[in-house]
Amino acid sequence: MKTLNFRAVVCGHITQEGAQSICEIIRNSLRHMELSDDDLYYSKNLTKLPIKTVHTYQEKSQLPHGEGSKINPNSAIQCYFQGGEKTYAKSALFQVLVELIREPAFNTLRTQEQLGYIVKVTYSSSAKVIGLNIKIQSARYGADYLEHRINNFIENLPNFSEEQVENIKRSLIKEYEQVITNIGQEGLRFWSQLEDDCFEFDSIPRAIRAI
């Protein structure tokens, strides 16, 4: 390995000098050239999807073993709705939206329509771009059919009351306010900032304010 990007999080009962000397030991033991900022940027980018377009990637998977059926009977779909570059306000909006539709999605697509054994609605934040994912895994229906049911679900979403929205906001804030119980959790929280290239170690109060 010729080039490398080295990052470290040191937290706990340690002084700044102590943390720096730990990093120095690691850095010196790695014989590498530093990746340029440009290279690093290109390795962590995301394609911007044009507004009001749909892009489909479909693949038929063959069963590696088994007699009789040549096509894998399982299907899966992931519908990804790109939300644009991350701002605290937009991120808050998407998180509330995900929480609002999570339960109705599970109820409609999993319980009532029994489309598959996995039905998930998740919020995504990657390379400073936010999004919403709806995933279904099914042993019975094809991917186009699953998409059709997702479209139908979106089209028939109920109107959410102000009270429902307020409840979701309260529970999200509560989640953010949860006290960290161990140093591992604290480290992970800092590390997520490095992974996303945000370097915003005060992101929690800002996220709470945005919600």
Partner: protein, 72 residues
């Protein structure tokens, strides 16, 4: 004596319950093909264009603000 699976199958048929089979039946394939058309109608209704990404635009490339890291 009838097997439990047979009894359950008969009961399901009697109650007109949709039976989930693991293999993609012709019916499921047909259902899927019909769904494709429904999806296209859905896109048309909301003026969503089915497109391929031929000239990908990367987020933030116009005014990339990559933070300079301090070497420690």
């Amino acid at each position: 004596m009838a097997k439990v699976s047979e009894l359950l199958l008969n009961e399901a048929k009697r109650l007109n319950v949709k039976i989930h089979t693991p293999n993609p039946s012709e019916e499921a394939e047909k259902e899927n093909a019909q769904a494709k058309q429904s999806n296209q109608a859905f896109y048309a209704k909301y003026a969503i264009e089915e497109a391929e990404i031929v000239d990908p635009k990367i987020f933030g490339m116009q005014n990339a603000k990559y933070p300079k890291r301090k070497n420690i």
